[in-house]
């Protein structure tokens, strides 16, 4: 079998970044909130990514900010995937009126900019709290997962082996969970990578806009909005923060690419 270089490269990039991010939950080179007199230091061995306008170590802040960003993205995708898969599996498997309605609503919702929907939900819940951010983004991601799952289940429902399993007396729940779910995994995994990237981007955008994560918490998006105001003095702030985010999105994107090429999909 041909080596799947996209998948390997993606896993390598994502793996290294995740490891460093995970480390950031327990240990950072400096206290990320500690201010010092060393303002606007360019990247050097002591401060890999330099320091910001308060003399804080940017590398430590990026480690923590990435942690916040990815944690929020993970929770978001978890809510979106759990809700979407459940909804999609049940409606796709049973069909009927609920299915029709879900398709229509889903079509209408996926046509909307996800950020706009998330902004609406968060303005209803009240902006500024991470929990509300996760909830609003999670809700917004449900339709896209429901759509993918529904399609896979609607297709599987018509396949003969599913029919024969039913005839052998398997319950609906068993067919849904044991017989069909494993077959939808490849599609679902690819959808997860895309959904995760969208979640990171959406969180970053909203925090950049000042509606998502707000101080004292920091996420990559919020840090970029800080970095913009000091770009003239410390361009490395924006470049390193943005670079880490792009690299992570790139890595996850490559994993998705690898998964799809393994499926033999030319797209």
């Amino acid at each position: 079998m041909k080596r799947n270089y996209y998948l390997l490269a993606g896993l390598a990039i994502t793996g290294v970044l995740s490891a460093v991010t995970l480390l950031g939950f327990f240990w950072t080179p400096y206290d990320s909130a500690a201010m010092s007199a060393d303002k606007f230091l360019a990247p050097c061995p002591a401060h890999l990514f330099g320091t910001d306008n308060f003399g804080r170590d940017i590398f430590s802040r990026v480690m923590e900010g990435a942690g916040t960003s990815f944690l929020i993205a993970l929770c978001t995708v978890a809510i979106g995937a759990a809700g979407g898969v459940l909804l999609g599996a049940v409606t796709g498997y049973f069909g009927g009126l609920a299915d029709e309605i879900l398709i229509r609503v889903g079509d209408a919702l996926t046509a909307f900019p996800s950020i706009l929907l998330a902004l609406v939900v968060i303005s209803l819940l009240g902006p500024g709290k991470p929990v509300n951010l996760i909830l609003s983004l999670g809700l917004v991601f449900i339709p896209s997962f429901a759509r993918v799952t529904r399609a896979a289940y609607a297709e599987a429902r018509e396949v003969n082996y599913v029919k024969s399993v039913r005839l052998m007396g398997a319950s609906h729940a068993r067919v849904i969970l044991v017989h069909i779910l494993p077959n939808t995994l490849p599609v679902l995994l690819s959808a997860l990578t895309i959904g995760f990237n969208n979640a990171v981007l959406a969180e970053a955008s909203m925090s950049y806009l000042g509606i998502g994560v707000t101080p004292p918490d920091a996420s990559l998006g919020y840090m970029l909005s800080e970095a913009q105001s000091v770009f003239g003095r410390a361009p490395w702030y924006a470049l390193t923060t943005g670079g880490v985010m792009i690299l992570f999105l790139f890595g996850v994107g490559l994993i998705g690419e690898g998964l799809r090429s393994r499926e033999g999909d030319a797209l």
């Binding site: 706009l116 902006p127 806009l209 994107g253």
Partner: protein
């Protein structure tokens, strides 16, 4: 023609539902928001007076109908922060945002079509993997990061434009030059997505039997592409580009903040922070209309290209 009317009907129905949901959701909280505004002075009498002033005591259906008709007459109620009519407040901003998304859209279309034709030629060659990596990389760059770089390089360093000082639509030449940079920031990842989709579509079409037939009649590759493949690839592309409009609007919302463009996106963000719900709900409906309308236009274009679509839809 019947198809077009049916699509228009669906458009109106969708917008009716969208506006109803939006209005219902926001009218639920705008009362409490108004009370919050009074703060410590919130005696029951004052609250009642405020509710009366905001018209919150009248039946929901009446308020909704009034608000909906406001999209035609321009009277969408008053902003809570600016003490100004929402219609007047938004009029210029709508045009700015429309212009920005139209420019981004044009950039995406103009760049992705030649690029995807080039990329299709690379398929299977040594540069194929390089393209995939580059494409994946471009998709990973968030528009607000590109925007940040562009505004510093071309704005602050090279002085080609002044970030934050949008010249206004009356000086349309300057305005277009200003908007070119945010449009590029929005267009880069979207172009990458479009190229990727177009490449897949073109490759799929090139493998179809009718291509074999055309070659067996003596067409060369370019003729097959021009006469047959491009037209067949067009309908999925038009549908994809219409969906792209939603992505563009998402980009517009964020990038307006980066460049300090006085458009709907910036207004939306400010109004959410201010809990200025009359403004928020109007902007939501306007942006939603823009996206749904693009999809409707795409459907109508597609049914002219492919007559089979009108049959499938009963």
């Amino acid at each position: 023609m019947k198809y077009v009317f049916r699509r228009l009907g669906a458009l109106l129905l969708t917008m009716f539902l969208v506006s109803l949901c939006t209005f219902a959701a926001f009218s639920g909280i705008s009362g409490s928001a108004a009370e919050a505004r009074l703060g410590t002075q919130a005696t029951p009498e004052r609250v009642a007076a405020l509710r009366e002033e905001l018209g919150l005591n009248r039946p929901f259906a009446v308020r909704y109908a009034e608000w909906l008709s406001g999209f035609a007459t321009g009277n969408l109620g008053d902003s809570l922060t600016y003490r100004q009519n929402v219609g007047e407040l938004l009029r210029d901003k709508v045009l700015v945002s429309l212009l920005l998304s139209a420019m981004s859209f044009a950039l995406i279309v103009l760049c992705s079509i030649p690029l995807s034709l080039l990329v299709v030629r690379l398929t299977g060659g040594p540069l194929d993997a390089a393209h995939t990596l580059f494409n994946q990389f471009c998709m990973s760059v968030p528009p607000f990061f590109t925007g940040l770089l562009l505004s510093w390089v071309f704005g602050v360093s090279l002085h080609w434009f002044t970030p934050g000082a949008f010249p206004g639509l009356s000086r349309i030449g300057d305005a277009l030059r200003f908007l070119l940079f945010p449009a590029v920031a929005i267009a880069i990842p979207r172009t990458a997505m479009t190229v990727r989709m177009l490449r897949g579509t073109l490759l799929r079409e090139l493998n179809r039997d009718y291509v074999k037939t055309a070659i067996s009649r003596g067409s060369d590759r370019d003729t097959v592409l021009r006469r047959h493949v491009l037209k067949n690839a067009l309908t999925p592309t038009v549908a994809f580009l219409a969906q792209m409009m939603a992505e563009i609007v998402a980009g517009v919302i964020v990038v307006e903040q980066v460049f300090g463009i006085p458009g709907l996106g910036r207004m939306l963000v400010v109004s959410i922070s201010n809990r200025d719900y009359p403004v928020v709900q109007a902007i939501v409906v306007i942006l939603a209309f823009w996206v749904v309308a693009s999809n409707t236009v795409a459907d109508c274009i597609n049914v002219r290209i492919d007559p089979r679509l009108a049959l499938g839809d009963k």
